[in-house]
């Protein structure tokens, strides 16, 4: 083993590398109520993300999340895992998952992830110990929250 490799393995979990090589739900699709474009200005990673909601009001669920993204393995895998976790969930529950993931990423490695809630996203626990990479993991998640809130607002305005 080379020095540093176990530290690397804590960051690059197999699940993350799998999602990176075979991302789920990638590509932009119709229909959608909101589309956002987020960038990470320090590194140039970009994501364009669309959200489609099924139903309205308290009963609304996340019908689809589609995206187009360029970036590192962490940012690409995070987008893939995000879609897997939130598609089909009621909007309120999906927002709770978002909060849980955000708390994990901002926890500096001190937060124990709840596997019941986060499923594959627990693999990102190691990212929290690499401060430079936290923004990579959060790029698509923040874009999703932004798009979803926009879609909900649009729904209300109708």
């Amino acid at each position: 083993m080379t020095a540093g490799s176990s530290e690397l393995d804590s960051l690059y979990q197999e699940i993350i590398l799998d999602h990176y090589k075979n991302p789920l739900n990638k590509g932009l699709r119709d229909p959608f109520e909101a589309e956002v474009h987020h960038v990470n200005p320090t590194c140039g990673d970009e994501v364009t993300l669309r959200v489609h909601l099924d139903g309205a009001g308290a009963a609304a669920t996340v019908g689809d999340v589609s995206y187009d993204a360029v970036g590192c393995s962490i940012s690409q895998a995070a987008a893939s895992v995000l879609t897997e976790l939130v598609i089909g969930k009621p909007v309120g529950e999906a927002m709770s998952i978002h909060e849980e993931f955000l708390a994990l990423m901002q926890g500096k490695g001190q937060v124990q992830p709840d596997e019941e809630v986060l499923e594959d996203a627990v693999a990102f626990a190691g990212v929290a110990r690499f401060p430079a990479r936290v923004k990579c993991a959060l790029l698509a998640w923040m874009a999703w929250k932004d798009a979803t809130l926009t879609a909900v607002e649009k729904e209300k305005a109708r």
Binding site: A3, G4, S5, S6, L11, G71, C72, I74, R133, C136
Partner: protein, 422 residues
């Protein structure tokens, strides 16, 4: 032994205390630091650190306004730093050396004052010419200037091998051109640009030539007069000096014609409630208490480099760069962005590694103690020119050894294996 390396490299390395620190590795085994991010910021020799500490411990006072012994000592140290920088740049006059907080502030000083009323004011119909390989700090201030004044921003393109595309120079430099601002050495591609040739052309149409020398002053012998430029700026922290201090050199006859930039203390001659008159250069462009200890540190830094000799530093950089270009070619799937001839470029080498994103490259290397930069290096247009979103960049300096390049190359082979590429 590689020809051109600094003969007392091991002695020089001992001048930089940070180079002997180790980083936490696996199982508590310390990893030696391999610092290949000097184009981002250089490390500091003990003499710079000691000079700054000594100033703070023994001579600290505000300058040019304190009527006591410490004030005199502090002023003398600050102004001595200006003399050292003037000598280092071969500036005809010490008054032409203006201290700024960094090169970004220096470029903004020029781009702002050219927008304001005065005989050099840029206006509608005028053109400002830059290049596609600029750092964002030599793009955005000119975008702001042209947007504010109704002038037009134009730029030189980049050739496929990373040089400046001069094929349309006759069109780009014309009687409407008021300013030509370009980088001497590209921070991303490493390209060394023909500053003198472009400056001579620009002067034929009466344009002002501004040179971003942030990457040039650290590694080339720079003679501001021979460069042909009217204004040359650089930043202290890339020339083994501290952060928070930069230099803007300009020809006196030009600086005298620019309106003041920031208003405040020190830049005035006299102030009444209705209006003020201004101090002569350099103080006219140094409003407020300047970064005193940083300037003193910069003075020690340029003395240190001058003592080694910039021609020797340059030879060392070329030798290490040639060795690195050779080593990088052995990594399958690696593409260097920029010139492949070490004699035509500086010591920053940006590259792509097929199948692995630059962030991931940098993270893997970091766990082996190797510090490189990953991202767009504040040169998004230059990356876009080559159809890439970001790159990994290694950059050497006078303390870089061939063994460190070997470790980088080995680390890149390991990175490919780790990500199961190829």
């Amino acid at each position: 032994m590689i020809e051109g390396l600094l003969p007392d490299l091991e002695v020089i390395r001992k001048d930089f205390p940070i180079l002997s620190r180790t980083l936490p590795g696996n199982d508590g085994v310390g990893l030696p630091l391999i610092y290949l991010d000097s184009a981002n910021t250089s490390q500091k020799p003990q003499v710079v650190i000691d000079t700054m500490v000594d100033h703070l411990e023994r001579h600290n006072a505000n300058i040019a306004r304190a009527m006591h012994r410490l004030g005199a000592e502090s002023t003398e140290a600050f102004e001595a730093a200006r003399d050292k920088v003037a000598t280092f740049l071969n500036a005809p006059s010490r008054d032409e050396v203006i201290f700024t907080k960094n090169i970004t502030e220096g470029l903004n000083l020029v781009a702002n004052t050219l927008a304001w009323p005065g005989d050099l004011q840029v206006g509608p119909g005028d053109e400002v010419l830059i290049t596609e390989m600029e750092h964002h700090s030599n793009i955005v201030p000119w975008q702001l200037l042209t947007q504010r004044t109704g002038a037009t921003l134009r730029w030189f393109g980049i050739t496929d091998d990373g040089g400046l595309d001069l094929s349309n120079i006759d069109d780009l430099i014309n009687e409407r051109t008021k300013v030509v601002s370009l980088t001497w050495v590209s921070n991303m591609l490493g390209t060394i640009n023909p500053v003198r040739e472009i400056a001579d052309r620009a002067h034929q149409v009466g344009a002002i030539v501004v040179v971003d020398a942030a990457q040039a002053v650290p590694q080339l012998p720079v003679d501001v007069v021979a460069s042909g430029a009217d204004i040359v700026g650089f930043t202290g922290h890339k020339v083994v000096g501290p952060t928070g201090i930069g230099v803007l050199w300009g020809k006196r006859e030009l600086l005298d014609r620019l309106p003041p930039f920031l208003g405040g203390g020190e830049m005035i001659e006299t102030v009444a409630m209705e209006r003020s008159t201004y101090a002569p250069i350099p103080h006219r462009f140094e409003a407020g208490t300047p970064p005193i200890v940083e300037a003193v540190g910069l003075g020690a830094a340029v003395d240190y480099l001058a003592h080694i000799g910039m021609e020797h530093v340059h030879r060392h950089e070329q030798a290490v760069t040639a060795y690195a270009l050779e080593g990088l070619q052995t990594v399958p799937g690696l593409t260097v962005l920029g010139p492949l001839d070490a004699t035509q470029r500086g010591g920053a080498i940006s590259f792509e590694l097929a199948g692995v994103h630059p962030h991931d490259v940098a993270t893997v290397l970091d766990t082996r103690g190797i510090a490189v930069r990953a991202g767009h290096h504040c040169a998004k247009p230059a990356h876009a020119r080559f159809g890439v979103q970001s790159s990994t960049r290694m950059s050497s300096y006078l303390y870089t050894t061939p063994a460190e390049i070997d470790a980088l190359v080995e680390g890149l082979h390991y990175t490919r294996d780790y990500f199961k590429v190829g």
